[in-house]
């Protein structure tokens, strides 16, 4: 092949790559622009400080907002994360660190099944487990449903980051006479913590956007409630019900809610990126080195002054 032909091929491939990227990015931009254009007018002070109430409120122009849904989303999501973390991390450890254990293949099968299960089934599962047995829809049932969404994500990321931590680390711990569980807890998990945090945040953001598992569990509530045993509102489920409502005012509030949900997910990822970076820096001693350097300059200055 001549040099010219090579350049031509290189250029063609570049054009192809750029084109494909645009095909992916442009619809995303359109969605963001569309959501923002439609919802920005709904974002006033009332939106963040008032509960939704009955449709009459919005129609009559009385103050109404999505405060209950915003707070509910955060509450239900955080409780779900607290429930899912121990199970997700434990099953990840089981698959990575104890592959010879008789439970390991069962765990793997369950995690992949959960992972492939449609989210609405997680809602049904939580409905059967919690709602049926406690006698009604509740925020906690919603958390359980979202925990089922989170567990396989946390589990799989935990397994894969544990797998890439070097064997030599485990061997070094064992050679000191540490038992295996101690090596896992004190050496392997800390070395993999940045990856585990990333997994937890992906799970958190992913669950924050799920409406289906919540319809049958936390159900929704037009009024503000902090009672975990009662129905509670969440953004995704509220967006759905606002969208299918016949009221124009509610539609516009729904677009506003979509902006908040979008921001919430984006902020979660962003916060996660920063947290992971901080952790890596600390692990590499960047801060310690900086602090030592600062201490040294201060000392030098003092000595120079004398």
């Amino acid at each position: 092949m001549t040099l010219k032909a090579r350049y031509a091929r290189d250029a063609a491939i570049q054009v192809g790559v750029v084109l494909m990227t645009l095909i992916v990015v442009i619809p995303l931009l359109i969605i963001i622009v569309y959501v923002v254009a439609n919802g920005i007018t709904a974002l006033n002070l009332d939106f963040f400080t008032q509960e939704l109430g009955s449709p009459a409120r919005a129609i009559q122009g009385r103050p109404a907002g999505l405060r209950a849904s915003i707070i509910g989303t955060i509450v239900i999501d955080l409780i779900a994360l607290a429930m899912a973390l121990p199970f997700g991390i434990a099953t990840g450890i089981m698959m990575s660190e104890y592959p010879e254990h008789p439970f390991a293949p069962v765990t793997r099968l369950m995690v992949s099944t959960l992972n492939g299960m449609p989210a609405v089934l997680m809602g049904l599962l939580a409905y059967a487990l919690v709602v049926k047995n406690t006698g009604g829809f509740s925020a906690l049932a919603g958390s359980v449903a979202l925990a089922f969404v989170m567990i396989p994500i946390i589990s799989r990321t935990t397994e894969s980051v544990l797998r890439v931590t070097p064997w030599s680390l485990r061997e070094a711990g064992l050679s000191l006479g540490l038992p295996r569980w101690r090596v896992t807890v004190s050496l392997v998990l800390p070395a993999a913590r940045a990856g585990i945090v990333t997994g937890a945040l992906i799970a958190f953001a992913r669950a924050a956007g799920e409406a289906a598992p919540l319809l049958l569990t936390s159900f929704g509530n037009n009024y503000f409630s902090m009672d975990l045993t009662q129905p509670m509102d969440t953004l995704p489920q509220r967006l759905y019900s606002l969208a299918i409502s016949p009221y124009r005012q509610w539609h516009s509030m729904g677009w506003g809610g979509a902006i908040i949900l979008l921001l919430f997910v984006m902020l979660t990822f962003y916060a996660g990126r920063i947290a992971v970076k901080k952790m890596e820096e600390r692990a590499l001693g960047v801060n310690e080195e900086r602090r030592t350097a600062r201490r040294k300059t201060r000392k030098d200055r003092r000595e120079a002054n004398q």
């Binding site: 050679s175 006479g177 540490l178 692990a283 590499l284």
Partner: protein
């Protein structure tokens, strides 16, 4: 702790074989004594099974389910592979320094060295401080790190990391210390310091050291074992091996006939 008589047999292997697969031998039928409070050097060409043998002595192969071990490895007459023996207890008595430096990257220099001690329940700061300083001094690292004990172990240079690993192994005061080419990533000065440490440690510890450096073997060891293609060719006092080896293959190896 009952310290065995100087020069008596501390460890002994009997027909010890390690297979990495049905027909892949790492070592085959190795029978040799390891004398108490002596330094035994393992020499031989690359891939002859030195690391395999060393790792078999503190049950480091346990985690790899493909590895099959037959024969015996006795510590004070008791087989460390006997069913009632706990590998964790064995490894507390038999410490190891690996071929590649393996500091705990997220732990500080101090915590790296203190890790093993904390495990056996030592919590007193003063005791830990003293043990950490002693181990780091022993490993010829104290002066370089005494001002930055809180920095992570991963922030040290490769050679410093290896000395940190030596200090970490020393801190728990093992009875037997296995060292797999401990100085291969060190500069000449640190190498000499580690060698003098080895000679100094002999009073308390039985040491087995793998080395590719024949001068080093002669400088530090009392006994030398020559391995070739998974077999132990001969083990003799170091002076005998380097002076007048019994086996023809040992002679050829030492004269550089194969490497």
């Amino acid at each position: 702790m009952s310290n065995p008589v100087n020069g008596s047999v501390r460890m002994e292997t009997k027909d010890l074989s390690v297979r990495y697969g049905p027909a892949i031998y790492g070592i085959q039928n190795v029978s040799m004594p390891v004398h108490a409070n002596k330094v035994t050097a393992l020499i031989g060409p690359s891939g002859c099974g030195k690391s395999t043998f060393l790792r078999a002595l503190n049950r480091m192969h346990d985690l790899n389910s493909d590895v099959e071990i037959t024969g015996q490895a006795l510590l004070d007459g008791e087989d460390i592979y006997a069913p009632q023996v706990d590998a964790v207890v064995v490894r507390r008595k038999i410490g190891m320094v690996f071929q590649k430096p393996t500091p705990f990257p997220t732990k500080s220099i101090y915590d790296n060295v203190a890790a093993g001690l904390r495990l056996v329940g030592i919590r007193k700061k003063q005791v830990l401080d003293e043990a950490v300083e002693k181990a780091l001094t022993g490993a010829a690292l104290w002066d370089e790190v005494k001002d930055r004990l809180k920095s992570p172990g991963g922030s040290l240079s490769g050679g410093q990391q290896q000395r940190l690993c030596i200090a970490r192994a020393l801190a728990v005061e093992p009875e037997v210390l296995l060292m797999d080419e401990p100085t291969s990533s060190l500069d000449p000065a640190s190498t000499l310091r580690v060698e003098s440490l080895i000679k100094q440690l002999k009073d308390q510890v039985t040491i087995i050291i793998v080395t590719h450096n024949m001068q080093q073997a002669q400088r530090v060891s009392d006994y030398t074992a020559f391995f070739f293609v998974g077999e132990l060719v001969e083990v003799s006092p170091t002076g005998t091996i380097f002076g007048s080896p019994r086996e023809e293959r040992t002679k050829e190896y030492l004269s550089g006939a194969f490497s």
